[in-house]
Amino acid sequence: MTQSKTIWQVIAASSVGTLIEWYDFYIFGSLATVIADQFFPKTNPTAALLSTLATFAAGFIVRPFGALVFGRLGDLIGRKYTFLLTLVLMGGSTFAIGLVPGYATIGFAAPLLVLLLRLIQGLALGGEYGGAATYVAEHAPPNRRGYYTSWIQTTATLGLFFSLGVILITRHFLAPDLNTSIQRFNDWGWRIPFWVSILLVIVSIYIRLRMNESPLFAKLKTEGKVAKNPLKESFGHKANLKMVLLALFGATMGQGVVWYTGQFYAQSFLENVCGVDFDQSRTILIWGILFATPFFVVFGGLSDKIGRKWIMLIGMLVAICSYQYIFKQFLTLTSPEGKTELTDHRKLLEDKVIVSPANPADSIHLVTSEVHYNDGAVFKEVKSDTLFSDASRAAVTKTSIKYKDKKLNTWAYRKLIVWIFVLILYVTMVYGPIAAFLVEMFPTRIRYTSMSLPYHIGNGVFGGLTPFIATLLTTIYVTDKLSGLWYTIIIGAVCLFIGAIYISNRIDPDVND
């Protein structure tokens, strides 16, 4: 069998499993609002959403612990069996989330079970990536390490792509009528994407069982040079600990926030801040991902020629310099300002009076209308008037108009796809070369452990918390809708500065040591 054929088999087997793990991990995040309705008390929608995001974040926070547990195992018993185990844990917990009865059926046990399963998902993911990246890098020739490992890097984005695709397809095909289909999806159909996972995992386990152990690890094992205590060797020795800290603060921290801003906060911003329709906000992301994904391989391959450092750092630089402008474009393109309404097309959808959540004695008059504009856009307008019970304030009118479920015209829709493409292009620059970069920083005997921890603190903690912290910032600084971006910009800037000064652009010619 030729070397080329072997490396492609290795890449395929590693990538398929990693892609499925990412798919499993993302369906939860992509269905955050639906899951909030199912598993968390509905007293306050924001609290429910935050609870879900917290659970989402919990999935990320435990990732570094998964990196420690499975990284250690990978350096002790081998790469192959460790990432087989992570795959089984991930697939099993994802399938089980799809089986948990809702809060209405089993009460508080429901969110607890979901949280527990989410934690297992986070642990498994923490162990998966380092293994896959290490496995491919240890098979790759030195002059093509960036190129071959970049295929593993595409899996995170493709996992999101497939999760969004499966969700959209399921949401549309549960009934001939779209509204009924969406209703069914929100009731029980959201479980299907979780169940789909088990089929994918079985296929992936079959593929991975046929793989051989990494040749470098197998050699270490034969020579009896396997690490006795990888955790101690990785973090207890100054010479290695300093490299772990450099990898975190000079590369993965900034890479993580750029990644999660481009793919997750962008979608959350479009849906929750700009009020773009559920389907459109997701298809915009799907198109952006589709066009940008090949660039992971482009930048991974380029890093073999010019080094990893400057590609990643330039990606960070352009990202933090342009985020404010791009997200401002999101607001402009989705704003009703400057549009002319076709008044004869206006359709009343709902007219009702509800009890004010702020003061039960007051009530709120809500009028929801469908508004059509001359450029083809269709928005839902929600006009609310507070009706005060207090006679002294009865004359005071407190009216607010909000727009939601915005269906954009083709021009605005395509322009948003271009901006999302640009955001994901930044992701490909910071993320494409990073597997090769991390693999080259650490010796074989403790590589799995050493590279997994900075990767998962950078991506799991700094990156994974990005949508959550950014949303939180917008609730603190309410007058500035772009305030959430400051988290990414500050973290990215610190990382860029550290990376530029301390990191070397040298490509390690030998990872066999």
Binding site: A54, I61, K238, F249, V461
Partner: protein, 79 residues
């Protein structure tokens, strides 16, 4: 370049305590502003997670100050 790396080590060492101070201050202010269980959980998670990372930043700064990053290892034998 090496003096710059060492000099900036002081900045990184200071960044750790400054981050912890700002984190605790914001957490206290936000919990006082919205004393719900959700707010407390969120900020408790942030404090628990980010304090060890801030300590890591101090260690990184200390290593930089001591010149540990003047010459990065070129072979695993140096690690």
């Amino acid at each position: 370049m090496n003096s710059l790396k060492r000099g900036l080590g002081i900045v990184w060492m200071m960044l750790g305590p400054v981050t912890i101070f700002y984190l605790l201050k914001t957490a206290a202010a936000e919990i006082a502003r919205k004393p719900h269980i959700d707010t407390k959980i969120q900020w408790a998670v942030f404090v628990v997670i980010f304090i060890p990372i801030a300590i890591g930043m101090v260690i990184f700064g200390y290593y930089a100050f001591k010149g540990e990053y003047d010459q990065l290892p070129e072979s695993s034998k140096e690690i």
